[in-house]
Amino acid sequence: MKTSITINGAAYAADVEPRTLLVQFLRDNANLIGTHTGCETSQCGACTVLLDGEPVKSCTVLAVQADGHAVTTVEGLAPAGFLHPVQAAFWEKGGLQCGYCTAGMLNAVVSLLQENPNPTDDEIRHGLEGNICRCTGYQGIVDSVRLAAEKIAAGGAFEPVKA
């Protein structure tokens, strides 16, 4: 089935089986392998992308259901060579260790801060319930989200990739 999705601002079309999941479309058809799958059963959030700006688990959306819609993946958060303020905050505050959950976590945080620019720690934890991290114990993530909120409040400029 002909399916056309705008991914990170660029239109991408492919002829796919209706059972193709959005995450497979992103990884296998569009070759954007930043989006991970963990559980593949809608639990872990590793596959979280933004669909028309809202966080979704791309393992639980059919690609054909995203036809005509816009998706943002981790590759689209900042221009090449730059970090989105949420990415910069994760780098500075140790918001990741192995990085497996990170792409999904970043998208979840970007949308959380759009909805609630100044969340409390409780709101951060409740807002990230759909994203499991097996490494950090979450405290580093909560710290990162707080720093990201500050960065965004201060203008939210992209930052050069850190060495």
Binding site: P18, S42, L51, E54, K57, T60, V61, L62, G130
Partner: protein, 281 residues
């Protein structure tokens, strides 16, 4: 992990969805948010040959104040119920419940129509919908039917919905002035679903309590409601009335919680929900 192959159809209207259901027969299923259906299909527990996508149908995603009741279109998502100003003012219990459903990602996809049609015994909303005496509006070849939620829900994954019918809306009566509401939940830590969910609606002179997660469908605690109606609500009277709240109901036991544990915790959550709705805690 992906489902068995199927053919995909887009319905442009409810009428078109009904005629596709008639034409394709029992191998066809409607898909809305897909957040109950796709997980089941990926596990190959459901293998429909045809999916009919209803998410493109205009006019099914709305929250409308109809005076005596609020009408919620079937395609209204959990995130909308969480944020909608009409819901906040006129049916705040649904916003409290929406906040407890899954996580932000689930709430961005799942729909109220999908919830009632799926009739998952561990779903959250049914507790609130039975307590609020909501109605389910369906459209089929024979026209529109409006069914009280208590009659609509039959058992696990079973409702009165016909094979060629579509849920178009849920109607929620507006509660009298001075009504307090609360939702208390013991969540399954892995899935987020309700092991026990208790909704309480406390109005001047009347108390309504709906429970979910405990048995094959959500139910009202009518005995407790009667003993609380018109009574002076304090912690002692509430505790006494909600003790043994599941008496007479067949309660599940499973790997998450035994039957005895569920009955015991349901009492406590019910007392807490009523007390909160009554403004006592």
């Amino acid at each position: 992990m992906y489902p068995n192959p199927f053919e995909y159809h887009r319905a442009g209207s409810v009428e078109e969805a009904i005629s596709l259901l008639q034409e394709l027969g029992e191998d066809a299923k409607l898909i809305a948010g897909g957040h109950s259906l796709l997980p089941t299909m990926k596990l190959r527990l459901a293998n429909p040959a045809h999916l009919i996508d209803i998410t493109g149908i205009a006019g099914l995603d709305h929250v409308t104040d109809k005076g005596d009741y609020i009408e919620i279109g079937a395609l209204t998502r959990h995130v909308t119920l969480l944020k909608d100003p009409i819901i906040a003012a006129k049916a705040p219990l649904l916003a409290l419940i929406a906040n407890e459903v899954g996580d932000r990602q689930i709430r961005a996809r799942g729909t109220i129509g999908g919830v009632v049609a799926h009739a998952d015994p561990a779903a959250d909303y049914p507790a609130g919908l039975v307590a609020l005496e909501a109605e389910v509006v369906t459209l089929g070849p024979g026209g529109e039917t409006v069914t009280p939620i208590d009659d609509f829900l039959i058992s696990i994954y079973t409702t009165t919905l016909g094979p060629d019918e579509v849920v178009t809306a849920v109607r929620v009566p507006v509660q009298p002035e001075g009504t307090g509401v609360a939702y208390e939940k013991l969540a399954n830590q892995a899935s987020g679903y309700a092991i026990i969910g208790v909704a309480a609606v406390v109005s001047p002179g009347a108390v309504k309590i709906g429970l979910t997660g405990l048995s094959d469908r959500a139910f009202r605690a009518r005995e407790a409601e009667m003993s609380l109606a018109g009574a002076t609500l304090d912690l002692a009277s509430i505790k006494a009335a909600t003790r043994g709240i599941t008496a007479g109901v067949e309660v599940y036991g499973d790997i998450h919680a035994s039957e005895a544990y569920r009955r015991r915790v349901a009492d406590g959550l019910a007392a807490r929900a009523v007390a909160k709705a009554a403004g006592l805690s």
